[in-house]
Symmetry: C2
């Protein structure tokens, strides 16, 4: 404990992070990769201390009546630490975004122009009680040449402190300043607010967690924020769909991993194929344990369908529930999506090029799937490498945010005494 107020403490941490970030700005990819490998090794070497700290958090969680689902997110095991270390090594193996020349040309007057990726500086991360995010976020930030300030969930306090401790020691052992990685958890909730207010000291805040956390950060932050991850994703089965593919895509989109943001929450079926497709898909979904909430037409076509209310169309269930509706046309599907989508991912299943063209040009979301599962909106699946989250906003980053999205750019203009006339 430092004896500083939360605002003083966070501002001091941010200034230290800014200073530390400078030493990483010019670091080679080799040096950054060596650091990440050293962090991975240290996490495995010191798993004893990490597991001990984690056991305290889990015990506290159980004592305060935390649900088993949340306990499971919080829990670390030897295997989980190894997989966190493996993910860190994987970040080391990704191409370095820093130094990439994004655009460049020589101008008519002889000026040589290039736009180059450079580190962001200091990245703040506000997240819930998932200790793996502590290391993931630090690894991605470091690889992108930035320092990271971590504000984790209170329930993971001891785990995060242990993980940060291990990482800082590894940073120092690699002759870099420890303040490249720091937690502000000791300053509690007020510290989180101070982080969001530290405009000019912190370059970017990324909230990662439930809709409530994200909305709070978006509302409160003066530091630029990237909104992540709320996904009320739709699958639209067109009149010209291959219904076998539609069935596989609908079931996969819903059930492959229901708790994540790219899972489908609503299925819309064109009326021309409804009588053929709805009974099949409802049965398949119910067979996979899904509760189907349907409109009147769906209720008429299949059994055991719960009536869907307005709320169902709005809800990101993140569970084995789905809302199913019949629409009169592709326009009906598009206007439903416009009304209820959170702008994450929408899919169309159709063999008709005109329908596909209309859907892809009209839907205003981060990703549009054509004859593919919504579950493909994922940095790893799309070949972007590790991701720090999936942005559902339109500025800076949209969709899976990889290393490139954690950088900014500088224009470098080389002349030979050039002045404006």
């Amino acid at each position: 404990m430092s004896g500083l107020s939360p605002i003083q403490g966070v501002e001091a941490a941010a200034r230290n992070a800014q200073d530390a970030a400078r030493s990483l700005r010019g670091a080679t990819s080799g040096a950054k990769n060596a650091l990440l490998v050293a962090i991975a090794d240290a996490l495995e070497d010191q798993r004893g201390a990490i597991l001990e700290a984690n056991a305290r958090d889990v015990e506290d969680g159980r004592a305060s009546g935390m649900k088993e689902g949340l306990i499971d997110r919080l829990l670390l095991t030897e295997e989980r630490i190894s997989s966190i270390a493996a993910a860190t090594r994987q970040v080391a193996s990704l191409p370095d975004p820093v130094g990439e020349v994004v655009r460049g040309q020589s101008l008519p007057n002889g000026l040589l122009l290039r736009q180059v990726r450079v580190p962001m500086g200091v990245i703040g991360m506000i997240y819930e009680a998932r200790p793996n995010v502590t290391v993931d976020a630090a690894a991605l930030a470091l690889k992108a040449g930035s320092a990271v300030l971590l504000r984790g969930g209170r329930a993971a306090l001891h785990s995060n402190a242990a993980l940060v401790d291990v990482m800082r020691t590894a940073v120092t052992a690699n002759n870099l300043p420890a303040d490249l990685v720091a937690t502000i958890d000791e300053y509690g909730r007020e510290g989180g607010v101070a982080l969001m207010r530290a405009r000019g000291l912190v370059d970017l805040v990324i909230p990662r967690g439930g809709a409530g956390l994200i909305q709070t950060v978006v509302r409160e932050s003066l530091v630029p924020v990237i909104e992540t991850g709320v996904g009320n994703c739709h699958v639209y089965v067109d009149r010209a769909a291959d219904l076998d593919k539609a069935l596989a895509i609908a079931v996969n989109s819903k059930t492959h991993r229901p708790s994540v943001c790219n899972a489908a929450e609503t299925l819309l079926v064109h009326r021309d194929v409804a009588s053929q497709f709805v009974p099949r898909v409802v049965q398949a979904l119910q067979g996979a344990g899904v509760t189907v909430h349907g409109c009147d037409k769906v209720q008429a076509l299949a059994s055991n369908v719960v009536p869907a209310s307005e709320e169902d169309w709005e809800t990101e269930y993140l569970a084995l529930d789905i809302a199913v509706g019949v629409v009169d046309s592709i326009d009906g599907a598009l206007s439903h999506i416009r009304r209820y989508s959170t702008g994450h991912t929408e899919a169309i299943v159709s063999q008709d090029v005109a329908a596909v063209r209309e859907f892809t040009s009209s839907v205003d979301s981060a990703a549009v799937m054509v004859n593919a599962s919504t579950r493909f909106t994922d940095g790893g699946e799309l070949g972007l490498g590790a991701e720090i989250g999936i942005s559902t906003q339109k500025l800076h980053a949209r969709g899976p945010m990889g290393l490139a999205e954690l950088t900014t750019t500088t224009w470098i203009v080389e002349g030979d005494g050039h002045v404006r006339i």
Copy 2:
């Protein structure tokens, strides 16, 4: 007057703009270019009405004691209207950013992946009493496929109303919805606040004006903002500079157009060349009418130098004033820049590759000039076409913001029944 409260009125305008933007989303470049040419023609055809409205604003301005510099910014003439129309035609001639495939590949599993530029949706513009911004902003937004909500300075109320009226008529005549271009000036200051709060309805707000306006918008807005244009730009003359080039660059950076954000405000000179360079550059600057504010060493080396205070290093003069300091090393220059820069543009004059490499890799600004005037940080000069402002923030856009920066992207993923395994 609509009888709505400012919040109701602005929200209604934003919804109308959203609806209107949809019809522009799929518009061809040809259709958008024809619209812009029609707007340009209409501005010239109806210059009588525009000049009449502008005369009212100018008269009101004079009556309320507005300074002549501001009156000049507000004033429209036949010639100025022609140059606004010409700028609109120039936007029509630029390549369309919408539809550009930014990245793309086919993935190992056969998914075809592309990241495509798409329109932002609704862009809000908050600016001061410069009627040309009304048309510039609308032209850029329309070309980028978005609707625009304009909140101009109160002093240009009648001018802006007339310009918007002409543009809306031209939009309608081109079979597009008038609400692609709208002013919310009738809702006054509260309307501006409502615009900043309209998150979810408005996709982006760009403030354009003085530091006070920009800071207010950054602080108050819930809609994502791009910060533009505050430039405390530095020129550093290295020990290895070609001093003739340095002289030309320093004078050009300061005096070519002192009132704009890419003008230099501070000159830093390496001590090894100070006794040779400072007297020359001070004399040249003073000969061009510049007041030189200098550190002790500069005062000792040249005459008629005003002592520079802490405030001078911080000030964006936007006038024929410059702060001049002698630094002990390139590190001294870098740490001065770190402390006082607003992150817009810094220049180095040097023939030494090591110094250039250090400077370009250490300076954390939107643009770095090497042996060139700071005045080149400009969309037109850098070959990006027209610009809507110069971003000094790190997210989304950094440096001159052209058409591409007014768009967002969507990932389009085409499969053939692909599901995740």
